[in-house]
């Protein structure tokens, strides 16, 4: 059997994290290809339901990247994201999903290297956790 390859959805804000990912590319840094970026204007656009939907549809990990605290292009969107994601992580446990499968990081437009490190580290982490198994009725699966 081929080695398990995690499927990761990455929500990246337009101004910081997506630009940081662009910088990683311009600088020709290499990272694992498991995460696919969905660019949103601000991390606060990410609805907790999007995250749950991604897990339901087969994501093994979900990454959300925003601007550093105080640097949000929209004043304080990232604080809203932080609050929502903290709460969502509490709920994930109840749904039988390891909350660490959801990762929120601040990656600025200058932090190409950080984006690369986070992508590699998160991919390795999810690979170690293994595939996310959800039961048919959405109840707690075994093992998490």
């Amino acid at each position: 059997m081929a080695e398990f390859e995690p499927k990761i959805i990455c929500f990246a804000c337009n101004w910081c994290t997506s630009a940081g990912a662009d910088l990683a590319g311009t600088s020709r840094m290499e990272y694992q290809p498991n995460g696919v970026i969905i660019r949103v204007m601000c991390s606060s656009r990410v609805d907790p339901q999007h995250v749950l939907w991604a897990f339901k549809k087969g994501a093994d990990g979900v990454f959300i990247g925003g601007c550093h605290p105080g640097d949000c292009h929209y004043q304080d969107g990232n604080y809203k994201t932080l609050r929502r994601i903290k709460l969502l992580k509490k709920l994930l446990g109840d749904l039988g999903i390891n909350p660490d499968r959801l990762r929120l990081e601040w990656v600025s437009a200058a932090e190409g290297k950080k984006f690369v490190n986070v992508m590699n580290e998160f991919t390795d982490y999810i690979r170690k956790l293994g595939r996310l198994e959800l039961s048919e009725n959405g109840g707690p699966p075994s093992g998490e």
């Binding site: 662009d22 290499e30 990272y31 290809p33 696919v36 970026i37 929502r84 200058a110």
Partner: protein
């Protein structure tokens, strides 16, 4: 939303930039099979004229209603392809970019995996564009006034250019006078022009210009709004002296009993608590430094007010918060020298005869503490052996700053040369790593220092500096001869690194513009948009954006000013229409979304009992959308349906 679509997908090779790691033919093949895609093709350079023609003709031939270009980052060519799409008669918002270069081909090496990922990215964007709605840019009026932050040469130049273009400028400077660091310099390289002589006419022009409102001793406290319509709160600190009444007689300073280090002379001289920073200060008025005054409330001394004949001093002057509306902002906050505390290894701050470059400028300056005579601080003797050390804190990623401060090679050559002009029988030594003398007339200038003024250049670093018998002993190495060097110097001048000015980081937070790893303000594109910040309507000038010398600073300031003038030349700005909207049938009027909006764009309509969006104020972050419990709020072309369909296609076949 997703009706039967006719989408065209155009996959760019970008030479081998994409095609080298992504099988572009396969991407096109796979995309051709995707529902609603009627054409998927590849081309070597989609952004080229033939590439754009291919898109335009395909739209017409195949009657496409939506377009995906799989190419570089949307920050580069989104507008190119949207314009092309528009030329073919489609709404430009029916074109979307799939970023398969920066976020795929450039970051992955294994071709099969990169290709698979590029297919996922392209398909996700197809899903998005098929649910896009045609949009028209929203027009907003512009306030044709500019704010310039920082009154050094860059801020002065930007303010003058904008003011001469016919628009009002508010120039804010936090210290009591404009002039910045340039006014502290003695001469400038490579022409040896007197720095004050070339700067003061511009300072006077600022003070007399009918279009410039100068606010010194003031700081920007708060900014809200958006391009074309910023609201600024400026805090004006009290100077306790009415500049209109002050006659500059200087009586107050005479009687003031407090002496503190003079910032203008970098501590080489003292000043009183009530002082004028330097004789040509603009505005020409005294300032009472309340931090050093023995006390205003209750009055502890009161000597200055007693001698002030024109009654210009007012101890009760309050700080003022002034609100202004501007359409554009130029950030020109300049630099400070790298902190001396961090260069303890060179005895800086401990040995009195170890100075930094700016202090040496003051020693050389005709208006300086020694009236232009080069005297060392410890015993006021003329130094006969002077050692200049370059790269103090620069190009040292382990201990200090990784970057090159750019100006030090040139100003050190100037210092050594001017020292020799003042002390012809003295000897100047320069320790250097490399000589970086790129610039018009710069290399010749360094040659002149070595050939005409006999400056000895030693390639190597200094390991230790210490005092012995009234001398400053410098241990170093000359890496070209491989010999250890010991110089018994009378004076040592450190070419300290320059770093973003104190408070730049805090200002970045107020302005919501980003800074780079070294704390300089980030430009929108390092090559092609060097005077713009990432925030539209905010521009950068001078060393605040990165180390540079005076001509480059002036050029960038004029560049920023011309960007402002270009913006002010139209009466309206167009605003990105990817804003929030509300489905009034679904909105239950819970108002949860209202406090989510940082722009007060969401208002409750008391009649309809639903929330409505002021689309001019909406910046399109989407925070309110994620908060809406009923799904009534959606962001145009970033709807929940679009995001979920993108998730679906990326995870296709997984569960």
């Amino acid at each position: 939303m997703k009706n039967k679509k006719r989408t065209g997908v155009f996959v760019c090779h970008c030479g081998i930039n994409i095609a080298g790691t992504v099988d572009v033919k396969k991407v096109a093949e796979e995309l051709a099979k995707h529902e609603g895609v009627v054409l998927a093709t590849d081309y070597v350079y989609m952004c080229s004229d033939p590439g754009q023609k291919l898109i335009i003709e395909s739209i017409k031939e195949k009657d496409l209603d939506s377009v995906v270009v799989a190419c570089c980052s949307p920050t580069l060519h989104e507008s190119t392809f949207r314009k092309a799409t528009n030329m073919a008669g489609l709404n430009p918002y029916q074109c979307e970019i799939a970023n398969i270069r920066e976020q795929c081909s450039w970051v992955h090496k294994e071709k099969s995996k990169a290709t698979a990922k590029a297919i996922k990215i392209a398909k996700s964007i197809v899903e998005k564009v098929q649910r896009n709605t045609p949009l028209e840019p929203i027009s907003v009026p512009i306030t044709k006034r500019a704010l310039v932050i920082g009154g050094g040469i860059s801020g002065i130049q930007a303010a003058l250019d904008i003011a001469n273009g016919g628009y009002e400028v508010i120039l804010v400077e936090r210290s009591p006078s404009i002039g910045g660091h340039m006014i502290q310099l003695s001469e400038t390289f490579p022409t040896l022009d007197c720095s004050q002589c070339i700067l003061t006419p511009k300072m006077v022009e600022v003070s007399k210009h009918p279009n410039i409102k100068l606010m010194t001793y003031s700081e920007v406290q708060e900014i809200s709004g958006f391009v074309g319509n910023f609201k600024v709160k400026i805090r004006k600190k009290p100077t306790y002296v009415d500049p209109d009444a002050c006659t500059m007689c200087g009586e107050c300073s005479e009687v003031c009993p407090v002496v503190v280090p003079n910032e203008f002379d970098l501590g080489l001289t003292g000043r009183k608590a009530i002082y004028i920073p330097f004789p040509q200060a603009i505005p020409a008025s005294y300032t009472l430094d309340s931090a050093h005054c023995p006390g205003l409330v209750p009055i502890a001394c009161g000597k200055c007010i007693d001698v002030c004949e024109p009654k210009a001093i007012n101890y009760d002057m309050p700080p003022q918060i002034i609100e202004e509306e501007v359409g554009a902002i130029v950030v020109a906050t300049g630099y400070d020298l790298y902190e001396k505390e961090r260069m303890a290894e060179y005895g800086y701050g401990k040995i009195p005869d170890v100075l930094d470059g700016l202090q040496f400028e003051r020693l050389l300056s005709a208006s300086g503490p020694t009236k232009g005579e080069v005297l060392r601080p410890s015993d006021h003797r003329v130094p006969k052996e002077v050692v200049f050390i370059q790269c103090c804190g620069s190009r040292d990623p382990e201990l200090h700053n990784a970057y090159c401060s750019k100006i030090c090679c040139m100003y050190t050559a100037k210092h050594a040369m001017l020292y020799k002009h003042h002390v012809p029988d003295g000897q100047a030594y320069v320790f250097y790593i490399d000589i970086r003398s790129g610039g018009k007339g710069y290399e010749e200038f360094v040659q002149r220092a070595t050939e005409e003024d006999g400056v000895v250049y030693l390639r190597g670093k200094v390991s230790k500096i210490f005092q012995e018998n009234g001398k400053v002993i410098v241990w170093g190495v000359d890496t070209l001869s491989g010999k250890d060097i010991q110089i018994e110097a009378d004076l040592v001048v450190l070419a300290m690194a320059i770093r973003p000015s104190q408070g730049a980081r805090e200002l970045a937070k107020v302005l919501k513009i980003s800074i780079d790893k070294d704390g300089f303000f980030s430009e929108a594109h390092p090559k092609l948009r060097p005077v713009e910040s990432m925030v539209s309507g905010m521009f950068l000038a001078g060393v605040a954006q990165g180390p540079k010398d005076i001509p480059e600073t002036v050029a960038q300031a004029s560049g920023a000013a011309s960007k402002v003038l270009a913006m002010f030349s139209s009466d309206e700005l167009s605003h990105d229409p990817i804003v929030a909207e509300v489905d009034e049938d679904l909105c239950c009027g819970c108002k949860i979304c209202i406090p989510q909006c940082p722009y007060e764009a969401r208002i409750f309509d008391e009649q309809k009992k639903v929330v409505i969006v002021n689309e001019v104020l909406c910046e399109g972050c989407g925070a309110c959308i994620a908060a809406c419990p009923s799904g009534a709020a959606q962001q145009r072309n970033f709807t929940d349906e679009q995001i979920l369909s993108m998730v679906d296609i990326i995870l296709e076949g997984e569960r």
